[in-house]
Symmetry: C2
Subunit: 346 residues, 2 copies
DNA sequence: CTCCCTTTTTTACACATGTAAAAAGTGCAC
DNA sequence: GTGCACTTTTTACATGTGTAAAAAAGGGAG
């Protein structure tokens, strides 16, 4: 690469032989200059090493074409796949993604939101933590720029921005119905109450159970602290119970797959699954989300698949619609259905 | 929040009653102004809603305090944990992270590198893809800004930037030695040749085997395409072989845990592990990395734990050292040892 | 009260680009 | 060759901040 390094548009305009404003217009839309000029610029550009200054361009354009994404944890394959899908769709529409992980900490979440505003992001997709303290923050940011909440929505103010997520009532109901149809009605092993999904899944379980004429039965957490370490959480609780011979032939619906993975590990250690998972065991464990590794567990986790791809696509589309001003008015609330994945564990 | 919204430092300086340059210095270092002034600013700032303009500040500072991180896939818990750790350390040092996933695609990787330069990032931590086409690109970016390669290094030019990663020779050797000591010498199930780790682990396996007086034996991929879908890769290959009664009582060393997870699933489906993983089976499968879910498999995966935290910490420290000019001279090559994790699968 | 030193304000310019308006240039039809 | 329409160049100003230098103000010691 012996190409001449050029660092400003002014230098570049001299090297190419067109004026700087013409170059500026060319970079924003090559068809906005005469075809012969456009060709000339394109040709000379190939001989030269020039990268435009992102900071300077974005400071002056009305739109920065930056979209912020805030998720609770990168180290969770559900959020990781959501993020990858969002990135893919945003890239197609010409937007750059700024990812911030809130690391489960409302303070970091707040910091991330403020940083997005200071970066003049055009909008943001947020998978919020469940902290009540965030309500004010979200109200504040919603006033300033288009926001789409994804996966879960803030506890207090549901009406300040669009939302896309899974219809937990549908997804959990379809699992409960299946489990009741196939065998015993399930117990519910909830997730730590970290966001609205935790509540909705719990409520949906109870509601569906009652509708089917069963009394909801919850497995008690037994001294495990609330955290995003779901596998450890599920494993800790169920290992404890199985050690005391409890729930050893029960049907257990876990609030998410990561908890189910922990629970399945505990069950295996206690030899509670029938050899060769084809023959159904008395103990049944189901999850929720279709975590990428669910199918590799043994037994493979029966679960419901969230439409991650659809959620990501809609979130980006909703957001970009707002950013471009094509969509105004009341916030939209998109609930995606989830698909039952019958596998081996239940 | 009825706070007065203020969007520029000029407005703010009028509202507070100090000059704009004083404010500017206050924001960069509150101790650089007289304590009484600092207190006054701090006090009035609380009554007002002001966010500095990131783009404008960073355009003019010599340092943007932005660090770019490029990883092959977010949807891989190894990289996700690496990224989280990097983010944490960078945040402590006051740097903002811009993450770009190359999605396994050299073109996207190139795009990401160029974007980092156009954003005037102070430096970048890159976990490169193995593509030869990237050599020129990396040379180009290394000339412009401090780079640290993490996890794996570009195939061609090893000497253009610092590197931090796992000592694959040590890690694989310790596994091979353990496996040979405990029982039969292992076969090697490699990973797709996507980066230098793939080669190094393969070579280390062969070398260690010979040193111990055994002939290296490789399990052939049997028509599975090269991709980052490691679980599917491992599962596909081993399911195929197990179906033909091959390797059913072998010891198999997988190039990473995700492949091992796929292989273990296949083994379980074929009933090849002894019930209750306490009693050792003839079939043994080991992995590499200590993937966060390895311990939840059944049998739990025997593996070596990469020092993700240490790699992330060193990568950030090396990079920041270069950025601050505290470190110059020849590239450093830091190899972290990995720790054997004896679990149930081997 | 004065002097000196420190801090702050004022003023000015810089950064790399966007963008608007006026001036100059180009090409084409007649 | 003239006139017209379209492009491009020129010129000038904008963005929101960093930063340097000079001028002004403030505080403390004598």
């Amino acid at each position: 690469m012996a190409k001449q390094k050029i660092s400003t548009m002014k230098e570049l305009s001299e090297a190419i032989g067109v004026s700087r404003p013409t170059l500026s217009r060319y970079f924003q839309d090559p068809t906005s200059v005469r075809p012969s000029t456009s060709a000339k610029i394109k040709e000379r550009l190939a001989d030269v090493d020039y990268v435009y200054n992102f900071l300077a361009t974005r400071q002056n354009r009305k739109s920065t074409e930056l979209i912020g994404v805030i998720i609770p944890h990168l180290e969770d394959l559900f959020f990781a796949s959501l993020l990858e899908a969002i990135e893919r769709h945003a890239r197609e529409l010409g937007f750059t993604i700024i990812t911030q992980s809130s690391d489960g900490d409302p303070q970091i979440e707040e910091h991330a939101v403020r940083k997005l505003r200071s970066m003049s992001a055009d909008g943001a997709i947020i998978a919020p933590l469940g902290s009540e303290s965030s309500a004010e923050l979200f109200q504040w940011i919603c006033d300033d720029l288009p926001i789409v909440f994804a996966d879960s929505h803030p506890a207090g103010n549901d009406d300040c921005a669009d939302f896309v997520g899974t219809d937990n009532y549908q997804s959990v109901a379809s699992l409960v119905e299946y489990l009741c149809r196939a065998d015993e009605p399930p117990y519910f092993l909830g997730m730590p109450l970290l966001n609205t999904n935790a509540f909705e899944r719990r409520n949906s379980y109870a509601k569906t159970m009652r509708a089917l004429g069963h009394e909801p039965k919850f497995i008690e957490p037994a001294g495990v602290d609330d955290s995003w370490q779901f596998e450890a959480y599920g494993h800790g609780i169920m290992n404890h119970h199985f050690s005391h011979q409890r729930y050893t032939d029960a049907t257990i619906l876990c609030a998410n797959d990561r908890i189910a993975i922990g629970a399945i590990r505990a069950a295996n250690k206690h030899g509670l699954f029938a050899r060769g998972c084809e023959s159904r065991s008395a103990l049944r464990i189901a999850g929720h989300d279709d975590h990428p590794l669910s199918r590799y567990m043994y037994p493979a986790v029966t679960t419901v698949a969230q439409d991650v791809e659809g959620i990501a696509k809609s979130a980006v589309e909703l957001l970009v619609g707002r950013i471009r001003g094509e969509r105004t008015g009341d916030p939209v609330r998109l609930l995606k259905p989830a698909a039952l994945k019958l596998r081996e564990s239940a």
